[in-house]
C-alpha cells in the first residue's frame, strides 16, 4: 500500500508538472491562437471576383435602390410595410465602403506587382463605387476613407473633390489598361473575361456619364468632354457594361431585384412611368414594350400611385413587372449600356445647340433602348413615329431625351433616372409628400462619425440638392 501511495504521489506531481510546463508557454499559446479559419493575405485574383460582384450588387437590387426606384416613381411599394422616403436602407453606403476597402487592398497589391490589368479594372470599379456614394449622399468620406484605424472618423470630402478624383481614377485606369501587365484576369473577370478593351470602353462610358452629370456647372465643356469620351466607348447595342451571370434556376445566385419580388412582393409599376410611356406613344398599348413589361389587372395595366404605400401583396390591384420578361431570376444587371451613351450624346449635342446631331443620337438611343428589349425593327420605326415623338430636330426637347432615357432605365437603373431627375427636373414627379433630392446619411455614420454633416436630415433632403444638381 505504501508503494501505491508513493506511485500516486509521483503521478500527481508528474501530471501537475506536465500541465504547468506544457500548457502556457508563449509559443504554444501562439500556436493555439493562430486562426485556422481565415487567411491573413490573399492574392489579387481571389479579390477580383469579390470586388466585381460587390460593384454589381451596389446597383442590383440593393435595398437603397428600391427606395430610389420609388423616388423616381418607376415603382411603388405595395408590400405590407410602408417605406417612407427617409427610411431607405443603409445598404448602399456599406456595400460601397466595404467594396472600396477591398479595392484599396487590390489596387495597392496590383501596383506593387505591376499587374496593370487588375490595377486598371480596380480603378474603374473604385470610381464607380465613389460615384454611387456621392451621387446619392453628396459630400462623402474619400481622402480619409477606408484607412482602418488610421482615420477612425474620416472627414467628408466635397462632391466636387470626389468628382475630380473619379475623373483622375478613370484616366489612370485607361492608361494602366494600356500598359503591359504581368497577368490578365482571364476567367476571374466576371464581366468581360479579361477583355481589357471592353474595360477601357467602360471607363470611357463612365467618363461620359460623369462629365454629363456636371451639366449644370459647365454646360459646354461637360458636353464636349462627354462627347469625346463617348467616341471611345461602346459602339453598338451588343456591347455594354453588364453582368449576365445570374442564374435563372437558382434562388441564391439570382438577380437580387428578382429575389426581392419572389420573397417580398414589393414592386408595383409606378403610374408616373406609365404616364411617360403614354406621353410618347399616345396610348400605352402603342408602346411595343408595354405588353411584355407589365402584368394585367382585369385585362388592363394599372399603375400604382407613388408614396401612398398601398398594400397589394397579391398584385391584384396594381400591375407588377412581368416575371418572365423583366423581373426574372436570370435577368442581367446593367451597369452602363449603349442606349444610355446615346442619350448622353443627344443631351450633349442638345446643350451645344447641335440639334441635328442631337436628334440623330436621340433616335439611336431610342432604337437601342427598344433593341435591348428585343423589339422588332418595324415596331421600332412605328414607335419612332409615335404621336408624342419629336418629328424633326427642331422639335426635340430635353424633355424628350430625358423622358426616353427615364423609360429605358426602368427597372434596373433607377439610380441614373434619379440622377437625371435631380439635374434636369425631368420627368415631373407626383408623390404628394414630394421627392427627396438625396438620401440622408446612414444613422450608423451619423452616430459614429462626428464629421458627418448635420444639415442633412429627414426634412432637408427634400430641399437641399447635391452639388452637381444645384444650379451654379
Amino acid at each position: 500500500m505504501k508503494k501505491l501511495t508513493h506511485n500516486i504521489k509521483v503521478m500527481i506531481s508528474g501530471l501537475a508538472l506536465t500541465c504547468v510546463c506544457l500548457s502556457c508557454s508563449e509559443d504554444i499559446l501562439d500556436q493555439i491562437d493562430t486562426n485556422p479559419n481565415a487567411p491573413e493575405d490573399v492574392s489579387i485574383n481571389l479579390l477580383l471576383p469579390q470586388v466585381t460582384m460587390n460593384a454589381v450588387r451596389t446597383v442590383a437590387g440593393n435595398q437603397t435602390l428600391f427606395g430610389v426606384s420609388t423616388y423616381v416613381e418607376h415603382s411603388a411599394n405595395v408590400r405590407i410595410n410602408p417605406i417612407d422616403p427617409w427610411d431607405v436602407s443603409e445598404s448602399m453606403w456599406s456595400s460601397c465602403y466595404y467594396g472600396l476597402n477591398d479595392l484599396e487592398f487590390l489596387i495597392g497589391k496590383a501596383e506593387r506587382e505591376s499587374n496593370y490589368a487588375y490595377l486598371g479594372i480596380g480603378q474603374i470599379l473604385y470610381a464607380f463605387l465613389l460615384s454611387n456614394l456621392t451621387d446619392l449622399y453628396g459630400d462623402v468620406p474619400m481622402s480619409e476613407a477606408v484607412k482602418g484605424s488610421d482615420f477612425r472618423t474620416p472627414r467628408f470630402d466635397t462632391q466636387e473633390a470626389v468628382y475630380a478624383n473619379i475623373f483622375s481614377l478613370l484616366d489612370e485606369a485607361i492608361a494602366n489598361l494600356d500598359r503591359p501587365s504581368v497577368g490578365n484576369p482571364g476567367n476571374t473577370d466576371m464581366i468581360f473575361k479579361g477583355d481589357l478593351e471592353m474595360w477601357k470602353k467602360a471607363a470611357y462610358g463612365l467618363k461620359a456619364r460623369f462629365h454629363n452629370r456636371l451639366s449644370n456647372h459647365d454646360p459646354e465643356s461637360s458636353a464636349n468632354a462627354a462627347l469625346a469620351a463617348i467616341s471611345n466607348s461602346y459602339t453598338s447595342v451588343s456591347e455594354g457594361f453588364q453582368f449576365d451571370g445570374y442564374q435563372q434556376e437558382s434562388s441564391v445566385y439570382n438577380n437580387p431585384w428578382s429575389a426581392f419580388q419572389n420573397s417580398q412582393e414589393l414592386f408595383a409599376v409606378g403610374q408616373t412611368l406609365l404616364d411617360q410611356m403614354e406621353r410618347f406613344s399616345g396610348d400605352l398599348g402603342a408602346d411595343p414594350r408595354s405588353d411584355s413589361w407589365f402584368t394585367l389587372v382585369d385585362g388592363e395595366v394599372v399603375g400604382a400611385p407613388t408614396g401612398a404605400n398601398l398594400a397589394d401583396p397579391s398584385h391584384s390591384r396594381y400591375s407588377q413587372p412581368s416575371r418572365s420578361q423583366v423581373l426574372f431570376n436570370g435577368a442581367p444587371q446593367p451597369l452602363l449600356l449603349f442606349d444610355e451613351l446615346k442619350f448622353i450624346e443627344a443631351e450633349a449635342y442638345f446643350r451645344l445647340q447641335d440639334s441635328q446631331n442631337a436628334f440623330e443620337a436621340f433616335k439611336s438611343g431610342v432604337t437601342a433602348a427598344l433593341q435591348k428589349v428585343s423589339v422588332p425593327a418595324h415596331e421600332i420605326d412605328d414607335y419612332l413615329a409615335g404621336p408624342g415623338m419629336p418629328s424633326s430636330a427642331d422639335d426635340l426637347t430635353l424633355d424628350h431625351i430625358i423622358g426616353q432615357k427615364y423609360i429605358s432605365f426602368w427597372l434596373y437603373r433607377p439610380l441614373e433616372a434619379f440622377n437625371d431627375f435631380r439635374r434636369t427636373g425631368i420627368p415631373e414627379m407626383n408623390n404628394p409628400i414630394g421627392t427627396p433630392l438625396r438620401i440622408p446619411y446612414p444613422i450608423s455614420e451619423v452616430n459614429r462619425n462626428p464629421n458627418t454633416p448635420t444639415e442633412i436630415n429627414d426634412v432637408t433632403i427634400f430641399t437641399t440638392p447635391v452639388w452637381w444638381a444645384s444650379q451654379n
Binding site: 500527481i12 502556457c24 493555439i32 491562437d33 469579390q50 466595404y98 484605424s149 409628400i433 459614429r448
Partner: protein, 1137 residues
C-alpha cells in the same frame, strides 16, 4: 428605492403577523385527543407466524394483521430488512418481541395498542400504564426568556401542543411516554414521563444549524457563516419540483439577483440567465457552470435536473475569483447525488411524472371584418381590413368553390395540448470503503405544435472509493443523448406565427388543403409568398441531435489530518448535428413559384471538447483554540477545442428527398475554435474565534486568446466577515446571529478567440450569394478590424452585506449591496463604415452595475403538524453604461423594430426608436392638425398622432425590481409549495401586438368605424422641423387601416409596453405515504404529487407573455412572435425501496 424597500419590509412583517394568527387557529387542530378504552396486553395475545425466518418488517406486518397492535418507529433507524429467526411459529406476542429485541438490538414499549420500537441495546420489553397523566412545563432559552411556539409532542403518537406566550405548556400523556420539545434552531430535547410531571426545559441553540455548509470554488466546502460574500443555495428538489426539463427554468425566481428569462416555449429550449445584471456590453454575460467540481460548457439542457442534490449560485466575482477569467459573470455550482444508504443495502428510487402542456395565452381577435384592404375583400391579402363578414354572404373562393363567409378560430385550431414525461431511477449504496450512485433519466416533451418535441436520456454514474485511509479516488460520469425537433420558424415568408395568430378570421386555415392535389410542394395559402403553416409543419423540419459525455475523476491524498493534495481531471465532449430543411416550394427563399422552386438544406456538425485539469494542495489547521487556518494553492488548465462543419445546399430538385445531394448548389463552411487558459491560484481563509473571518485569494491566468505580451493577468480578492453577535455574552432573541461582511474582488475576461490579425473571409455579394460561384473562389476583407494592443477587460466588484437571524431561526434576513465596474471592455466597437470596416475589436467603454439583494426567510407557522416556510427573494439593480469608445454615441445590440442599444450615461440596454411627437410643455401626444398638405393634397393622416423627428429613448428593458415568493406549507404528510414571481417595470417592444394591429386582426381594431378623438394636443411640423402646437385636440378620426398601417406602425413607441407581470410560477401539492403503509409494502418512502407551472399570469402586455424575447444574447427587450409560452399541470409518483 428606499421607499420600495420600506414597503417591502412592511409587507413582509404583515405576513409574519398573519402567520402567528393563523398558527393560533391551527393549534386547536394540532391537539390530538387520546382515545381511552380496553387495551389488550402483549402477554395475552397469541399470534401465529408464517415462518420461523422473517425480516423485521414482515414480522411487524404479520403482528399488525393478527392483532390490534400497531408498531411505530423511526424508519431511518430501524432496519426493517433485518433478518429474524424465531424458535416457534406460534406463541404469545411477548415472547416473539423478546426474541426480536435480542436479535434486532431493539426495545419495545407498549402503550395501549401502540408498540414503540426503539433502537437501543437495552433490549427491554416494557408495558406501560394507560392512566393519563397531565404534565406541565415551561420552555425557555438559555437566557431564561420564555420560548413561545415551541412544539411539545408525545413520541410515537400524534398528540402534542405548543407553548404559550409565557413558554408554558400542559399536556396529557401516559406514564412512561416520552415528550419531545422542539423549536427551530434549537436542539430538540426529550423527557420521559415518570414520577416527574412538571418540567422546566432550557433549550440550547443548535449550533449545527447555523453552520450550513455550502460548496464554493473547486468543490471546497465552507460554513456559510464564514463567508464574506453572498451565495445562495437550492436543493435539487426545489429545482425539479414541478418537472422542469431544464435546470435553468427551475431557478426562476428562486435566487435573489439571478434573472432567468424563458425566451420561447418550444420544447428543449434554453432560457437566458443573468446574474446581477450584465457586465459585458456586447460580450458574454452567461455564468460559468461547474458540475461536481468540473467546469462544463453552457449547454445546460443536457443535464438532468433530477440528478441535482444541491445548486449554489456564487453571485459575485468575490465568490468566483478562484475560477479566474471565466467567472466574471458568476458561477453556478452544481453538486449531483453521490451514493448513500442508511442500511447498507442499495436504495432504489423511482420517480415518474407527467405534465400536460398548453399555450398560456392566445390573442383576442376581431371577428367582424374579413380578409382584404380598404374594405375590399381580397383572398390573398395578409390583412383583415376587408368588408364585414356578415355582409359577405357566399362567394367563390380561390379554389373555385362556393364558400359561405364565416369566422374561424385559426389559432385555437393550430395549437394542441402537449405533454412532458419524466422518468428517473436512482440506485445508490455505500459499502465499507466507498459508495456508488447510478442515475437513469428520461424526459420526453411533445410541444404544443405538431412536430415539435424534445427527448433526452441521461445516464449518470458517481462513485467514491477509499483506497487507503489516506487516499481516496472518485469519479462522476454523465452521458446524455437528446433529440429535438423544433418547428421551423424562419421569420419572413417562413414565419409560422404571423399566420398562427393573425390569419384573417374569415379564412379557414385548417379546413383548406395545404397544397395542390397534383403537387404537394405547390402550396395553397391565404398569403402570397408565405408558407402555409400546416404545410410548413409537415414539410419543413429542424432537427438537432446531441450526444454528450462529461465527467471527471479525482484523487485525494491526505497524508496528515490537516493536509490534502487533490487532483481532478475532467472532460466534456459533445457533438451536435443540426439539420434544417426548407422543403421544395418553401417561401423562405421565394420558392412559392409555379412550378415550386427554392428550398434549402443545412446540415451542421458541431464537435466540442473541453478539457479541465485542476491540481491543488490544501492546508487546514487550527492554531490554539482561537485560530483556524485554511490555505489552498493550485494550478488549473482549461482547454477548449470546437469544430463546426456546415454544408448548405440550395434549390431542392426532387421534392421530399431531403438529402444534400438533391440540391443544385452547395457551399460549405468550416470553423475551428481553440483556446486555452492556464491559471495559478492561492486562497487563504483565516478564522478567529468563530467571529472574524478573513478570505483572500489570488489567481494568475495565462490565456491563448490575447496578443503575445498581454496574455498574463492577475486577479485578487479580499473579504472579511464579522459575526458581531459573538461579542455579546447573550444574544437577544430577535438577533441570535448577526454577521456583517464585505469583500472586494477583481476578475476579467479575455477577448474572443483569434485576435492576432485582421483577416480575409469568404467572398459574398449579399443575400445568399457566396463564393465559390461558377467555379470561382473569392475572398473579402473581414469587416471587423482587430486592434493591435488588446488588454484583458477587468471587472471590479465591491460587496457588503449583512446576515441576521433571530427567533430561533424563524426569521432570517440576508441583505447584499454590490457595485460592479467592468472596465476596458473588449468589444467590437462600431466604427464609421467609411473606415472600410463595421467594427474594431478593442478595449473601450465601462459598464457599471449597482444592486440590492434581499433574501428573507420566515417561518410564520410552526406547530407540531404545520409548518409554513416563506422565502422571499428581492432583486433590484441599475445597469448603466458609464462610457463607450470615443466617438461612439451608442451601440446597437440588436432589435428588429425597436433598436436595443447601449449608450453612455444610460441604463443598459434600452429601447430606442421613433416615438410620438409630444408637446414639450404638457408632454402629451400631438396629432396632425392639417386637413390638407402644403402642396394642396388631402392629408390622409389628419387627426392622427405625429411622429418624433428623431429616434428617442423608449425606456430601459430592465425591471425596477423582481420578487420571488416561495411558500412551503407542510401539514402532516402534505406539503404544498407555491411560488409567485413578480416583476415590476421595464419595457418590451412587442412585435406580436404590432402585427396584430398592423394586420387589422387584434380585437382593438374592431372599432375601426367608431369616431375617435385622441387625447392630447394638435399641431404640425413646420418645414424646418419645428413643432407647432395649437391646443387641445378635437379632431375626430376613425382608427382604420390608414391609422394602423400607415400612421401608427412606423411609430415604434406604439408597440412598446410595460413588461411587468405577476405570475404563479410553480405550484405543487405532495403527499408522503405514512410509515404504516410503507411498512406494508416494504418501502422506504413514497410520495405522490400534483404540480403546475405558469398556471396564472397577470401582465401589462396584452395577449402575449412579456417574459418571452426574440433577441439572443444581450439584445433583450423585444418580442417578435416566437413559440408561445406554455403552462403545465400534471402529477407524479416517487417511490424509494
Amino acid at each position: 428605492m428606499k421607499n420600495k424597500l420600506l414597503t417591502t419590509i412592511y409587507m413582509l412583517s404583515r405576513f409574519f403577523l398573519y402567520g402567528f394568527m393563523i398558527q393560533l387557529l391551527f393549534l386547536n387542530f394540532g391537539l390530538a385527543v387520546n382515545a381511552n378504552g380496553q387495551y389488550k396486553s402483549i402477554e395475552k395475545v397469541s399470534i401465529q407466524l408464517s415462518g420461523e425466518e422473517l425480516t423485521l418488517g414482515q414480522f411487524f406486518k404479520e403482528v399488525q394483521r393478527q392483532t390490534p397492535f400497531k408498531f411505530s418507529y423511526d424508519s431511518r433507524k430501524v432496519d426493517r430488512l433485518a433478518p429474524l429467526t424465531f424458535t416457534d411459529r406460534e406463541g404469545v406476542l411477548e415472547s416473539f418481541l423478546v426474541q426480536a429485541a435480542r436479535q434486532g438490538v431493539l426495545s419495545f414499549r407498549q402503550y395501549n395498542h401502540s408498540i414503540d420500537v426503539l433502537k437501543d441495546d437495552k433490549r427491554q420489553i416494557l408495558v406501560l400504564q394507560d392512566d393519563p397523566i397531565t404534565v406541565t412545563g415551561r420552555v425557555t432559552d438559555e437566557t431564561n426568556e420564555p420560548l413561545p411556539g415551541a412544539t411539545v409532542s408525545v413520541r410515537g403518537t400524534s398528540s402534542g401542543t405548543v407553548t404559550d406566550v409565557e413558554g408554558n405548556f400542559s399536556l396529557t400523556v401516559e406514564e412512561g411516554q416520552t415528550i419531545s420539545i422542539s423549536f427551530l434552531g434549537y436542539v430538540t430535547q426529550t423527557r420521559q414521563v415518570g414520577t416527574q410531571t412538571n418540567f422546566t426545559i432550557v433549550m440550547v441553540q443548535d449550533s449545527e444549524s447555523l453552520d450550513e455548509v455550502v460548496v464554493t470554488a473547486f468543490g471546497i466546502e465552507r460554513q456559510e457563516k464564514a463567508l464574506s460574500y453572498s451565495v445562495q443555495k437550492l436543493d435539487g428538489e426545489a429545482v425539479f419540483r414541478v418537472g422542469n426539463p431544464n435546470i435553468l427554468n427551475g431557478l426562476q425566481g428562486k435566487i435573489a439577483g439571478v434573472t432567468v428569462r424563458q425566451t420561447t416555449g418550444a420544447p428543449g429550449s434554453s432560457p437566458a440567465i443573468n446574474i446581477r445584471g450584465s457586465r459585458s456590453i456586447t460580450g458574454n454575460n452567461q455564468p460559468l457552470y461547474v458540475v461536481d467540481g468540473l467546469p462544463i460548457s453552457g449547454r445546460i439542457i443536457d443535464l438532468n435536473p433530477s440528478d441535482i442534490e444541491t445548486l449554489n449560485v456564487l453571485k459575485g466575482p468575490t465568490a468566483a475569483a478562484l475560477y479566474g477569467l471565466r467567472a466574471s459573470n458568476g458561477v453556478i455550482v452544481i453538486t449531483t447525488y453521490r451514493g448513500k444508504s442508511a442500511t447498507g443495502k442499495p436504495t432504489i428510487t423511482v420517480e415518474t411524472g407527467y405534465n400536460f402542456d398548453q399555450v398560456t395565452r392566445l390573442p383576442k381577435l376581431q371577428t367582424t371584418y374579413a380578409q382584404g384592404n380598404d374594405g375590399q375583400f381580397d383572398q390573398q391579402s395578409t390583412f383583415s381590413f376587408g368588408p364585414r363578414i356578415d355582409t359577405l354572404g357566399t362567394y367563390t373562393n380561390f379554389l373555385g368553390e362556393q364558400e359561405q363567409a364565416a369566422v374561424y378560430d385559426n389559432a385555437g385550431d393550430f395549437f394542441r395540448t402537449g405533454g412532458t414525461r419524466n422518468f428517473n431511477v436512482d440506485i445508490s449504496n455505500t459499502f465499507e470503503r466507498g459508495n456508488y450512485q447510478i442515475g437513469l433519466g428520461y424526459t420526453g416533451q411533445q410541444g404544443i405544435i405538431e412536430n415539435s418535441s424534445f427527448d433526452r436520456i441521461n445516464i449518470k454514474l458517481a462513485s467514491d472509493y477509499n483506497i487507503t485511509d489516506k487516499l481516496k479516488v472518485g469519479t462522476s460520469v454523465n452521458f446524455s443523448s437528446s433529440d429535438r425537433d423544433a418547428v421551423v420558424d424562419g421569420g419572413g415568408n417562413s414565419s409560422l406565427f404571423y399566420a398562427a395568430f393573425f390569419a384573417p378570421v374569415s379564412y379557414n386555415l385548417k379546413g383548406k388543403p395545404i397544397a395542390q392535389p397534383d403537387d404537394p410542394y405547390h402550396q395553397i395559402n391565404f398569403r402570397n409568398a408565405h408558407d402555409n403553416i400546416y404545410w410548413s409543419v409537415k414539410n419543413n423540419s429542424n432537427n438537432s441531435a446531441t450526444i454528450r459525455t462529461f465527467g471527471n475523476a479525482y484523487l485525494q491524498y491526505q497524508p496528515l489530518d490537516w493536509l490534502s493534495v487533490n487532483y481532478r481531471v475532467g472532460m466534456d465532449y459533445y457533438s451536435t448535428n443540426n439539420k434544417i430543411v426548407y422543403a421544395l416550394g418553401s417561401g423562405q427563399q421565394g420558392g412559392r413559384t409555379d412550378p415550386p422552386s427554392g428550398g434549402s438544406i443545412t446540415d451542421q456538425m458541431i464537435y466540442n471538447r473541453n478539457f479541465n485539469s485542476n491540481f491543488n494542495i490544501n492546508v487546514n489547521k487550527s492554531f490554539g483554540e482561537d485560530f483556524q487556518f485554511d490555505f489552498l494553492v493550485g494550478n488549473e488548465v482549461f482547454d477548449i477545442y470546437s469544430k463546426n462543419l456546415q454544408v448548405e445546399g440550395n434549390d431542392i430538385t426532387i421534392g421530399g428527398f431531403n438529402h444534400i445531394s438533391n440540391t443544385s448548389s452547395q457551399n460549405s463552411t468550416e470553423s475551428l475554435q481553440r483556446s486555452r487558459v492556464a491559471g495559478f491560484f492561492g486562497n487563504l481563509n483565516l478564522a478567529w474565534k468563530e467571529m472574524l473571518f478573513l478570505n483572500a485569494s489570488g489567481r494568475n491566468d495565462f490565456v491563448s486568446n490575447m496578443p503575445r505580451g498581454n496574455r498574463s493577468f492577475f486577479y485578487p480578492s479580499l473579504g472579511l466577515g464579522f459575526a458581531f453577535t459573538e461579542l455579546m455574552s447573550t444574544a437577544p432573541k430577535f438577533l441570535e446571529f448577526g454577521k456583517i461582511r464585505g469583500s472586494i474582488a477583481e476578475v476579467g475576461q479575455a477577448g474572443p478567440i483569434y485576435v492576432a490579425n485582421t483577416v480575409f473571409v469568404r467572398g459574398n455579394a449579399g443575400g445568399g450569394f457566396v463564393f465559390p460561384f461558377d467555379g470561382l473562389n473569392a475572398f473579402t476583407r473581414s469587416n471587423n478590424l482587430i486592434s493591435a494592443n488588446l488588454q484583458p477587460e477587468n471587472t471590479r466588484t465591491t460587496e457588503i452585506g449583512i446576515d441576521l437571524r433571530g427567533y430561533g431561526r424563524r426569521v432570517g434576513l440576508d441583505y447584499t449591496y454590490y457595485t460592479t465596474i467592468a472596465d476596458g471592455q473588449i468589444f467590437n466597437v462600431p466604427v464609421p463604415i467609411s473606415t472600410g470596416y463595421g467594427t474594431e475589436l478593442r478595449n473601450a467603454g465601462q459598464m457599471s452595475v449597482k444592486g440590492h439583494e434581499l433574501v428573507l426567510n420566515l417561518v410564520p407557522i410552526q406547530t407540531q403538524n404545520i409548518r409554513w416556510d416563506l422565502t422571499t427573494n428581492f432583486t433590484t439593480f441599475t445597469n448603466k453604461v458609464e462610457s463607450l469608445a470615443e466617438g461612439v454615441e451608442r451601440l446597437n445590440l440588436g432589435g428588429f423594430r425597436a433598436n436595443i442599444v447601449a449608450e453612455a450615461g444610460e441604463e443598459y440596454p434600452y429601447l430606442r426608436g421613433i416615438g410620438y411627437a409630444r408637446d414639450p410643455v404638457s408632454g402629451e401626444v400631438v396629432v396632425d392638425s392639417r386637413p390638407t398638405l402644403p402642396n394642396g393634397t388631402v392629408n390622409t393622416r389628419y387627426g392622427m398622432p405625429l411622429r418624433s423627428t428623431q429616434p428617442v429613448n423608449l425606456g430601459s428593458v430592465n425591471p425596477d425590481f423582481e420578487f420571488g415568493f416561495i411558500n412551503q406549507v407542510t401539514y402532516k404528510n402534505f406539503t404544498f409549495v407555491v411560488q409567485i414571481d413578480w416583476r415590476q417595470g421595464g419595457k418590451i417592444s412587442s412585435g406580436s401586438n404590432r402585427l396584430g394591429k398592423l394586420y387589422g386582426s387584434l380585437l382593438e381594431t374592431e372599432g375601426r368605424t367608431e369616431p375617435y378623438i385622441f387625447e392630447g394636443k394638435m399641431g404640425f411640423f413646420e418645414s424646418d422641423g419645428t413643432l407647432v402646437v395649437e391646443g387641445d385636440n378635437s379632431i375626430e378620426i376613425n382608427k382604420n387601416e390608414t391609422f394602423y398601417r400607415i400612421n401608427e406602425d412606423p411609430i415604434i413607441e406604439s408597440n412598446v409596453y410595460d413588461a411587468s407581470f405577476v405570475r404563479l410560477r410553480e405550484i405543487r401539492l405532495s403527499y408522503d405515504i405514512p410509515d404504516q403503509l410503507l411498512q406494508r409494502y416494504n418501502l422506504r418512502s413514497a410520495s405522490v404529487y400534483l404540480s403546475g407551472r405558469n398556471l396564472w399570469l397577470n401582465a401589462s402586455l396584452p395577449y402575449f407573455d412579456p417574459e418571452l424575447s426574440s433577441g439572443g444574447g444581450n439584445a433583450q427587450g423585444e418580442e417578435y412572435i416566437v413559440y408561445p409560452q406554455i403552462l403545465s399541470f400534471g402529477g407524479g409518483v416517487r417511490v424509494s425501496f
